[in-house]
């Protein structure tokens, strides 16, 4: 997203009409130099013009534009301010000044100029976006958000705008959490917010402790139980994970993903017989989730129910496109086939396994 002065051609026309003699010559050479990309030369000519005719607001604006394009935002702010001092309603000057102030880190000063630019031209989505950014940089995401959303209606996929929107939401989230932690630091929701922050940042032990504190106050937080279970699972503490998942399941009895997690935890504990009902429930959804079918197949392998294992694993294989998962399933199907005495099928699955494994580990020496 770049700032574009909407009416440069008109500015040049107006400017040219106001000057004569030597000033006109400077303006003419300055405009030509700028259009040819010779910004230093343009600057010299326009500085000469404003020295000779300091009362012409358009000359200051045009010089401000050249300075802006040269990246000399400090000097641009000076020229643009002088232009607006002479002619407060000069078209385009406020957007440019607001942008350049923003570039200089002077967000609070930029806000009124960008706000005026947006009001002057409601269709100027860039002015709205810059105004939103100015509010963000001034630490006010609440004020920023409507302007950014307004700009997004005109520019749905502008990368910088999307970035600014994300930043606004993140700041809002942080503000709300800071308020939560300041006003009710020992509340379950404060612990929950802390837990999620630790979890997001990979601080598993701290996250586990905070989740437990949150859940000690309010038990009816199924997502927190699930998140706690996932962390315990990743720590290899499958009994604790199972306990957490079962607590979540008490609240959301029909949640297939929780049934799957309970089953997987029991499988990790080597308790396939206990895992089976959970996995059958998880795999009973329509359509059956491939992950649940795969886990069910694994449990049935453990229980040496090889025909049923093959059926579940085959269904999972038919539903999956992910090559890593397919590789795993072929390996398990080879085992089921081998135990069923179906050597040809076992060989075929092993061949598929080898092919996929070779592909997936091609980078290894």
């Amino acid at each position: 997203m770049t700032v574009r002065l909407a009416a440069i051609a008109m500015l040049v026309t107006v400017l040219s009409a106001q000057v004569a003699g030597p000033v006109a010559a400077h303006v003419s050479r300055g405009v030509a130099a700028r259009e040819a990309g010779r910004l230093e030369e343009a600057r010299r000519e326009l500085e000469a013009a404003v020295r000779a005719a300091p009362e012409i607001a358009e000359a200051h604006l045009y010089l401000g534009l050249v300075l802006h394009e040269s990246g000399d935002f400090t000097a641009a702010v000076g020229s643009l301010s002088r232009a607006l001092g002479l002619k407060p309603a000069l078209p385009g000057a406020r957007e440019l000044l607001g942008y350049d102030l923003l570039m200089l880190g002077r967000a609070a000063e930029a806000i009124p100029h960008l706000d005026a630019a947006r009001r002057d031209d409601p269709g100027n989505w860039r002015a709205s976006a810059w105004l939103g950014r100015a509010h963000l940089e001034a630490g006010d995401p609440v004020a920023a958000l409507p302007h950014l959303l307004d700009a997004q209606t005109a520019a749905t996929a502008d990368p910088e705008l999307l970035y600014l929107l994300g930043k606004a939401y993140a700041q809002l989230s942080l503000q709300a959490q800071a308020q939560l932690l300041a006003s009710a630091p020992e509340s379950s929701y404060a612990h929950l917010a802390t837990a999620e922050d630790h979890d997001f940042n990979g601080r598993a032990d701290e996250a586990i402790a905070a989740y437990r504190q949150a859940l000690a106050g309010i038990e009816a937080l199924p997502d927190a139980w699930r998140a706690l279970g996932d962390l315990e699972r990743d720590r290899g503490r499958h009994r604790d994970a199972l306990d957490a998942y079962q607590r979540a399941l008490q609240i959301q009895a029909d949640n297939g993903a929780l049934h799957l997690r309970c089953g997987e935890a029991l499988l990790a504990l080597g308790l396939a017989d206990q895992a089976l009902p959970y996995l059958e429930t998880a795999a009973g959804a329509d359509p059956a989730p491939p992950a649940a079918l795969g886990a069910l197949g694994k449990a049935l392998l453990d229980l040496e129910r090889f025909h049923e294992a093959r059926e579940a694993l085959s269904q999972a294989l038919a539903a999956l496109r992910d090559e890593q998962k397919r590789m795993e399933l072929h390996y398990q199907l080879a085992r089921a086939s081998r135990r069923l005495g179906e050597d040809e099928a076992a060989r075929e699955h092993l061949q598929e396994f080898r092919t996929l494994r070779a592909k997936l580990t091609a980078g290894d020496k």
């Binding site: 598993a204 503490r237 499988l267 795993e328 390996y331 396994f353 020496k365």
Partner: protein, 559 residues
């Protein structure tokens, strides 16, 4: 003992036909400071993160002077020194020597390294591990040392000194060798030698890995390499039969090796633990050599077809069904894989079912052994531990470099972590590596010597013999078979119908060699009804009504 553990144990005892209960908690006493062992391992780690620096070193228990007590041999690392032609390995400083400690009484030891000639001071070998076996059948155990830059074969001269026979015997294995083991591959009555090799790596190709933080490279960064099988020609020399016997056709990244008869055909098979690539099972086809069958039998990968960082490996019957199973160590989050021999030529991955997923999820292991530590008739699990990356905490929060060793009791085929109560050594975080197992003080139970990277070893004495449980040890003496009996299959049967099997080997674990005596825990059984020895050369020998709590010697019948 918890009620649940008691129930499991009782059920297990019924299954085995044993009724004994362990009267006291299994504990190991750390007597490292009292033994007189002054060895300290020196890997000399550098900022350049040469991979060899984090992989050593091994320990061997051997009774080199046949006085009835196990002596202890430590393999040191070395110093990487910049010379005119680049880096080389220097072992000249005394602190870089390998060291042999002679046992005086099972509890105190004297340094006999210089006297017997096993220091490796003049070698340019960065030491890794050791294998033990009487390769010349003279009644004295010999010693093979592995490392980066070559190997060493020491012939034991009548229990007094060792003679370096490396070049004369043809037993110099180039490259980077790791675990090795003596076994009678062709059952001709003398011990052959299997030498694992880790990577196609050298000091010239060595480099650190990592973007922001310098770390030891993953083995995935270096090509695989073939293992080496040396045939004992019976005249003091070895010939390389790796290609001819089908071992060198497949490459791997091998660190551990163990032997047993996987398919009950009377021939020794070889399991090789590979780091981050498929494990290997070399099935012995007799005159047709070996064929690598790990994938087809279900041993190559974990249950999802994923590779793991196979480090140490053991090949013993953990569930007392008479068939040898396989356990290996791996890195954190990979779990220690346990493969149950299902009979019929297949293995099933039973890590979860045996309780090891819960125990080992965050652990990184090296030496591993299935051995009956509490004398209840079930082989328990020991693992020396510590992550391979000395700065893993910076790479992945939640993982740790130094870790205490693990002892997990086997209760009817399911393991329970009892490390917390097994003694202070099991609560102390170290960089554990090789470990040798054996009865140091000849009191009947299994003690262990744990090698620690860049530190002093830990010598742990078990209290299992103080329990009410009985035990039996068997020392084999071959006549037609190899003199030290390696390769024999010994099964015992008790009055209540329980049966256990041990395979005679000093190999297994990681970089280490253990007591050649076969050890059985017996629970409350005070008599062994029957001992059956299947000798490698085919003889079958039966002993009946054997008393317990003793070491018995079994000599192979003359052919």
């Amino acid at each position: 003992m918890t009620l649940r553990n008691c129930l499991l144990l009782c059920i297990g005892a019924l299954g085995l036909g044993l009724s004994g209960l362990f009267a006291a908690e299994l504990r190991f006493q750390d007597r490292s400071g009292e033994t007189g062992i002054g060895f300290r391992h020196h890997a000399n780690p550098t900022p350049d993160k040469h991979l060899v620096e984090t992989m050593g070193g091994g320990v061997a228990l051997l009774d080199y002077d046949n006085d009835g007590f196990l002596d202890v041999f430590f393999i040191n690392g070395g110093a990487l020194v910049q010379g005119a032609d680049g880096l080389f390995v220097d072992r000249s400083h005394p602190e870089l020597h390998d060291q042999l400690y002679r046992s005086l009484d099972g509890k105190s030891f004297e340094d006999v390294t210089e006297r017997v000639g096993v220091s490796a001071a003049a070698k340019r070998i960065y030491g890794m591990g050791a294998a033990t076996g009487d390769y010349d059948n003279d009644g004295y155990v010999d010693l093979f040392v592995t490392g980066y830059g070559g190997t060493i074969l020491y012939r034991n001269r009548n229990g007094s000194t060792f003679e370096d026979r490396t070049e004369a015997s043809g037993a110099n294995v180039p490259g980077w060798s790791a675990s090795a083991g003596f076994f009678d591959a062709d059952t001709d009555g003398d011990l052959d030698l299997f030498v694992t090799r880790y990577l196609d790596w050298s000091l010239e190709t060595s480099r650190p890995c990592g973007e922001k933080i310098s770390v030891y490279c993953s083995p995935r960064e270096y090509p695989a390499v073939a293992n080496v099988l040396l045939r004992n020609e019976g005249d003091g020399t070895f010939s390389d039969v790796s290609l001819a016997w089908g071992v060198a056709h497949v490459r791997g990244k091998a660190l551990g090796v163990a032997f047993n008869d996987a398919d009950a055909d009377g021939l020794p098979d070889v399991i090789v633990a590979n780091d981050s690539t498929a494990q290997q099972l070399f099935l012995n086809r007799g005159s047709d050599g070996f064929s690598e069958e790990a994938l087809s039998v279900g041993l190559a990968y974990n249950e999802d077809g994923g590779s793991f960082a196979g480090m140490g490996v053991d090949f013993e019957d953990y569930d007392n069904d008479g068939r040898p199973d396989v356990v290996a160590t791996a890195l954190s989050k990979e779990l220690y894989p346990l493969f149950r021999n299902e009979g019929g030529g297949t293995f099933g991955y039973v890590t979860r079912q045996a309780g090891l997923a819960e125990i080992t999820a965050r652990l990184s292991g090296w030496s591993v052994k299935l051995v009956d530590l509490d004398h209840d008739g079930w082989k328990d699990l020991f693992a020396a531990q510590g992550h391979v990356l000395d700065n893993v905490e910076l790479m992945e929060p939640g993982l740790v470099y130094l870790q205490p060793p693990l002892v997990a009791l086997n209760q009817a085929g399911r393991f329970t972590d009892v490390s917390a109560s097994a003694g202070p050594a099991f609560r102390t975080s170290i960089a554990g590596r090789g470990t040798a197992f054996g009865d140091l003080d000849n009191d009947g139970d299994i003690d262990l010597v744990l090698g620690v990277l860049n530190d002093r070893p830990i010598v742990l004495y078990s209290n299992a013999s103080e329990s009410q449980n009985h035990w039996l040890q068997v020392r084999l003496a071959g006549q037609a078979s190899a003199r030290d009996g390696q390769g024999a299959r010994v099964s015992i049967r008790t009055s209540s119908g329980g049966e256990q099997v041990r395979y005679a080997t000093t190999a297994g674990g990681y970089l280490s060699a253990s007591d050649p005596r076969l050890h059985f825990g017996l629970g409350s059984e005070s008599v062994v009804d029957r001992i059956t020895v299947l000798w490698p050369r085919g003889a079958r020998q039966v002993l009946e009504n054997v008393g317990t709590d003793r070491l018995i010697a079994v000599r192979e019948p003359k052919p």
